[in-house]
């Protein structure tokens, strides 16, 4: 399953492209080609296991929920 925080955009505040590129809505920046393989769960990668950005976001969310308890 593709990372739910991955989008394809052709621009952000700094860049404009004539094509859509992979964009991480956690980092708020375009992602490198190698990281995009992880975002898309290509080959044997899995974003929830192999992406430190996604993992840290989930851990932060879990910590916030725990604080709310």
């Amino acid at each position: 399953m593709t990372c739910p925080r991955l989008e394809y955009r052709s621009s952000d505040e700094e860049h404009t492209f004539d094509h859509e590129r992979p964009y991480c809505t956690v980092m708020n920046e375009f992602v490198s080609p190698m990281r995009a393989d992880v975002c898309n769960d290509r080959f044997e990668f899995s974003h929830d296991a192999d992406c430190e950005v996604y993992r840290s976001m989930v851990e932060s969310s879990t910590a916030i929920e725990a604080d709310d308890d």
Binding site: F17, R21, F30, S32, M34, E44, F45, D50, C51, E52
Partner: protein, 278 residues
């Protein structure tokens, strides 16, 4: 493979790595990704003296896709005269993908062959185990494709010796010694010289250094009897704070340095002869 060879007028093979698999246009908009723009930059680099082009394929989003190598190869052949095509078999994809680099039609004259894994991010290790390395080496030998052995760190040099023992390589062994951050060899002149001292007999070496280290360490290589790889795969800046305008800008500078060192650039035919490709 020595200073004496440099003094005696050994020619220098200049390789350009235009694209790679690591950076995108978000890092430098001048990085060529699509077949036509890659081929256009390769043509400029060939005119400036590059004898070999190291090739990666990207999809329409700029993401890695080894199945685009055929289109890139075709575009380069359309625009260039005689530059040697060296397709990648590296990266972090599966063997099924990576082997596409040696299954284009026609097959490339050369291909890269990573001598072991390296780390990416916090969780990624590339899948370059001995089984896969030997599988690629065997097919390259059968197809008459010259491997460039990618030595990311000095432990990988042990793997070169091991691969030589299998009989899957032919002399001269063409070894790309790599310096940079992460899993790569620590970039310093001392480490370059130590690596060169430890190379197998009957080998030729190429030198790749990333980022800030590209200019000084590739300048050292010809003096030690080695060859040079530059390009935007390895370095996105011309000088500190100034992004590269094109691969040609880096190739032009290296060609000028080699000329100032009173050495000659190898033509593609010279390179074929030096590397035992014909």
């Amino acid at each position: 493979m020595s200073y004496q060879e440099y003094v005696d007028g050994k020619k220098v093979i200049l390789t350009v790595a235009t694209t790679g698999g690591v950076h995108g246009k978000d890092a430098n908009p001048n990085l060529p990704e699509q077949p036509d723009e890659i081929a256009e930059q390769v043509r400029e680099c060939e005119e400036l003296g590059a004898a070999i082009v190291h090739v990666h394929g990207r999809d329409e989003h700029g993401e890695n896709n080894a199945r685009r190598l055929q289109e890139v190869n075709d575009a380069i052949r359309d625009r260039c005269d005689d530059i040697i095509i060296q397709n990648t078999t590296g990266g972090q994809s599966t063997m099924e993908e990576r082997i596409e680099g040696i299954r284009t039609d026609p097959t490339p004259e050369m291909a890269s062959l990573d001598m072991g894994p390296f780390n990416r991010g916090q969780h990624i290790i590339t899948e370059h185990n001995r089984h896969n390395i030997e599988l690629l080496a065997r097919e390259m030998k059968e197809q008459g494709i010259k491997p460039e052995l990618e030595v990311f760190n000095n432990g990988h040099l042990n793997e070169v010796y091991r691969l030589i023992e299998t009989g899957l390589l032919e002399e001269p062994y063409y070894i790309n010694i790599i310096f940079g951050s992460g899993t790569f060899s620590i970039p310093s002149p001392e480490n370059v010289m130590n690596m060169v001292r430890n190379l197998p007999e009957n080998s030729e070496f190429n030198l790749l250094a990333t980022g800030r280290h590209q200019l000084p360490l590739t300048t050292l290589s010809p003096i030690l009897g080695g060859h040079v790889r530059v390009g935007m795969e390895d370095n996105l800046y011309y000088r500190r704070g100034e992004p590269v305008r094109s691969n040609a800008q880096l190739v032009e500078r290296s060609a000028a340095i080699i000329d100032r060192l009173d050495a000659d650039l190898a033509t593609p035919d010279d390179a074929r002869e030096m590397l035992g490709m014909r």
